[in-house]
Symmetry: D2
Subunit: 379 residues, 4 copies
């Protein structure tokens, strides 16, 4: 693909905008070895799409994703659609020999995710899942500290991810509330992030037991009169054991009145601990038993120093980075991998691993029992 | 008992000191309708006991709790011993016609707790369990707000209670680490507090699924060379459904490196939420959807105003109350109930209700399944 | 005075209660070498005084402070009155050969304070000013860190002390709002605390420039109809240079709507910093440049460990101490000094040093210029 | 200038990057009525400049700012240079009929700033100073609340702005440490921001008294061996009275070890208060006396809702915006004003007003007296 990577971006809403912005910003701030060229934007609503393409500087746009994927001048297909389209687009893109960058959750369910992996592996194309939270400098630093042994043996992980956008019962039944399109509710939308971070920071989840809750079971239809049933979870919680013996407690909800994007995670080890909150994302809290007894406490590390991952490419210390920067970092890693001919991280295998945990939670909630992740992953 | 209540205090360690202090402070700050008179202190170590009695102003002391309980001039037996003595002392006290004030957990297990309730009911004596966290002004205010409907329909409860005093593997195997004496580990010691607060704020727990973990399985014996096995949990976590349909996520641990007495609880309702942390106990955080959309947020209420529960009896606004004040308030409620001839709250029935949840968690952890609280409570 | 110290406590309001409580608690928790005996309570309102004496266990009470001070069985006179009585009582007590423990500010003005020091020195009696904030464990730890050089060269100090109890214009004109009785307003009441802490942590103040503000100039009289003028400051702010070259910025106000007892102080040195807030008094924040660059940040030290000043005498780690504990520690230091025949700290010289800073601010505000503390101290 | 605005950007370091990024992002997220076209980038170091121009997509670059300013296709000159060039460039740009957008401080001193204003007024060109902190959504919301009367009568303002990048004595003597080039030190660099915010939120400053400090007086030269003197302030602090009677306390420093970009400001009014911190910039804290007494407290408003200024153009609630977004908002206001043929806000008059306060502080520090802003502003 030379020095340029032609991008087809499918999806123009929240994630479409986050990705388009990332392609624009990665060049000035990271000077990636290959440069993304926004060839074509794709979406359903043509009026909005024209506007989107104009604003973000796409050369062209189309409402036909098949055409977008098939273009000669496209090297990378970036999937920001509703979950029900992930598999079809990813598989078609792989067959067309394109690299695939897919939003989370990788698929509606594990079987679909496996088909996607099979397709990209068969085609030998690079593939990545956009678990953007891995790319916050503070999260990266957390991982480095854990890797270096600053926490000792990791024993306990806990994470909550709280939002409240479904508290109003008049909020419409969008695709995210329909199982056939979303696969699951909060589980696939928000829990998947903390599952991925758990894997990133602690390791593989061995088994889970969970519960799902739906508090508002009928909502107004978005495109007309009347209401429709909500058949996904508003909230999910589960206990876990990791393969390395650590324990995990996970909870997510879209019903935590007053909580906006409150993702909070904590890791306790035998000689240290750390915690992080996505609403104050530049700060990592780190405690070390190696500090003198009388002067020991969680350090509030403002992760904006030149020594910190990614931070040196932006602003001076203390000048806060936001949510969107995580996507820029993700895209930088993607482009670097493409340039070097290796697969980026996290890839579809990571997507599947997270999906398997979700699936185990779904089975657990339905059958009211502990479920091993290996059981749902199968042979 | 007239205007005075003769107190026998059994136990002289952490809880013994907290209770003795509470009796001393309740008089000047709350002027209770009956006045506690510290008749006799009781403990095992006579040297330390003499010192304890002298410092706190007990008239007498004895290492024989049976004698203490039997005294004519004792109206109230206050049990601050290790868990294995709760039942024996409480039952003997009840039989002697004394009011009983017992530290949590009420007993080592549910059966024992039931025997204790039977004894006090048979004797017709007042009984109370010292769930002191109910008596923080902020917790009290939380309950008032929930009762008034400020949160709407309560949907979700989450609580963590994190300590780290067992992180050091050289910490000795005290009685709290021996099942025969403690009943359970973190479950009965710290989880029991958040279970009680869940009941206080949300309602009865219907069913649970949980897991227990022991990270250090062998510890030095406290009174000699060698080590002994730890047969209780270092950490416990469980999911719950309340009878009213709310969900609960609970976690406690003595292995959260860097966390000292970090109890954090949050309640989400349909129109509001609140959270509270025992390490910043004067502050209640409250969010209301009724605030104007652009100026909505969790309010940091410093619960030290004259309008707030108990606070007006202490210091001016913003002058911080501590951990021990919760015991003073508990003792005030106890003495008020005694004076008025009614049973205080929370009583042994509350102790049993909490114990039943713990027992359900134990069964759940052992059998790896959801367990209804009703199942362990039996007929 | 043998093993017992007879105490006459003059004043029964906020400070009277805080001191009475401290005498009660110091015995069980600190076992001081001499034991305070509450001989006599003194106040103006006889009804309330009888109640106060009963609640706190004083043997006797009187509305005549002269009689209280003169008693044979009194060794220590504790002055918790309005500021206008400090000097008269202290001087009479000194003349009677009693140790004197006086609330802050030591006097209404510097001249009065000097007379008080002269009296106690002439009489050769021990003397102490109750700058209670010095006795919070976290403040004590702050000083230890500074002394050890953990901050390097101390360069900058800033402190705010914000309250809001005068925001309501209907709040009555109590004695604290009358210059003849109080000496000054927020300056002597709250600024004096941060001035003392500045001296405790940083050193002597060399010069200041300040401003005083009164936002509500007329208030209802407390004891009858009509209003009276407010002739003291509602708020005060001043800049300072310390003798060691450090800079200081001080602000206090009783008009910071929403702020209750918000004292916040910060010290910056050449290799470290620390800050502390009285509304979260158990926590000291400490930053060290010696931490590794990527893991550097303010540590949130929960100052409740056995290694920490005073903390080990109370509860286990993380169990929060409150405002009143600072008085217990102060009284413990007082009693220890009395037992050892040395003068306690801080003493009247410290009271004068603080008073001199206040006086310099008053002159500065009146004359709109920098004022050297030496200028007002004279001699 | 039609639908496009040709931009010449002078300066390629911290601020050059912040502005270039803002032009790139304003289009997709705000769709301004006129579109900025990056015609030419200008800087001293040609190698770095070529790289800068390439990364940010400038059509051309030049090391000769005169040429850049003179270009026919340039409508707007954006000045991000060291302070010593602001005046020369702005005046030349005005003479060439270009709109001028200038970084803060407007000039090295007030006289220079006045010449700049005269030039743009003479030329009749639009002018704006980049006080970017005005454009944080939370700051904007703060102003709206104040305007609506939510705080009542504003009485007190306090602001600190703490950094630590000069703590290391080996940090070189860059232009910011040379009076001839910078005008002043922390005063013009960081204090100017809180002065502007004070004017934005409270009103005009009437008089000040201040002090300046330089803790490290000699530093290594940046471009060779040896050291040079530091003749600007490392830290500045001043008291102020506003024309409306409110008081102000200001402090800034580059020596607050451990503080990175810690700008904290608070406004107290007769019925409410608010505070904000630039290290947690999405959150505004607001207290209202109108809340019920028992449920009153500072609200933690996460200013990311559609109802909030600018926020709706970005991401869903709770998804954090960073430092750089403030520049995007500033540029949006600039472009909107240009399109509508009105002068943007804040303009050079605001720049002068802030500069006059700084100058008054300089005079005050030199002459050790209160200085009226009118005095330095002159006739």
């Amino acid at each position: 693909m030379g020095r340029e990577v032609g991008v087809a971006l499918i999806g123009q809403r929240f994630m479409g905008r986050a990705h388009a912005n990332a392609y624009a910003k990665v060049v000035p701030f990271f000077d990636p070895p290959v440069r993304p060229i926004l060839r074509v934007a794709c979406g359903r609503n043509e009026g909005r799409l024209a506007e989107f393409a104009r604003r973000f500087g796409f050369s062209e746009y189309t409402t036909d994703w098949g055409k977008a994927v098939a273009r000669e001048d496209v090297d990378l297909v970036d999937i920001c659609t509703s979950n029900d389209l992930h598999a079809a687009i990813a598989i078609r893109a792989a067959e067309a020999g394109k690299a695939v960058f897919c939003e989370k959750p990788l698929a509606r369910d594990l079987a679909e995710a496996k088909r996607m992996l099979a397709a990209v592996e068969r085609a030998g194309v690079p593939h990545m899942v956009c678990f953007n939270y891995r790319f916050f400098p503070a999260v990266r630093l957390a991982r480095e500290l854990i890797r270096e042994g600053a926490l000792g043996e990791v024993r306990q992980f806990r994470a909550i991810y709280l939002q409240d956008w479904l508290v109003d019962p008049a909020f419409p039944r969008t695709w995210r509330l329909v199982r056939a399109r979303a696969g699951s509710g909060a589980l696939g939308d928000t829990a998947v992030h903390i599952v991925d971070l758990a894997r990133f920071l602690v390791g593989e989840v061995a088994e889970v037991v969970g519960m799902l809750s739906t508090f508002v079971r009928e909502r107004p239809l978005p495109d007309g009169p009347g209401t429709g049933p909500v058949d996904v979870d508003d909230a999910a919680a589960f206990l876990a054991r990791f393969e390395n013996g650590a324990t995990g407690v996970f909870e997510t909800t879209r019903m935590a009145t007053g909580r906006k994007n409150f993702m909070h995670l904590e890791v306790n080890g035998s000689v240290g601990s750390l915690f992080w909150n996505a609403e104050d994302p530049n700060v990592l809290w780190f405690h070390s038993e190696k500090d003198p007894a009388a002067a020991r406490g969680f350090r509030r590390i403002v992760v904006t120093e030149p020594e910190h991952p990614y931070a040196g490419n932006w602003w001076p210390p203390g000048h806060i980075l936001g949510y969107e920067h995580s996507f820029v970092h993700a895209v930088y890693e993607l482009l670097s991998a493409l340039a070097e001919g290796r697969n980026p991280e996290p890839d579809f295998r990571d997507g599947i691993a997270a999906q398997a945990v979700l699936e185990a939670v779904l089975v657990s909630a339905a059958e009211r029992r502990w479920v091993a992740v290996a059981e749902v992953l199968g042979g």
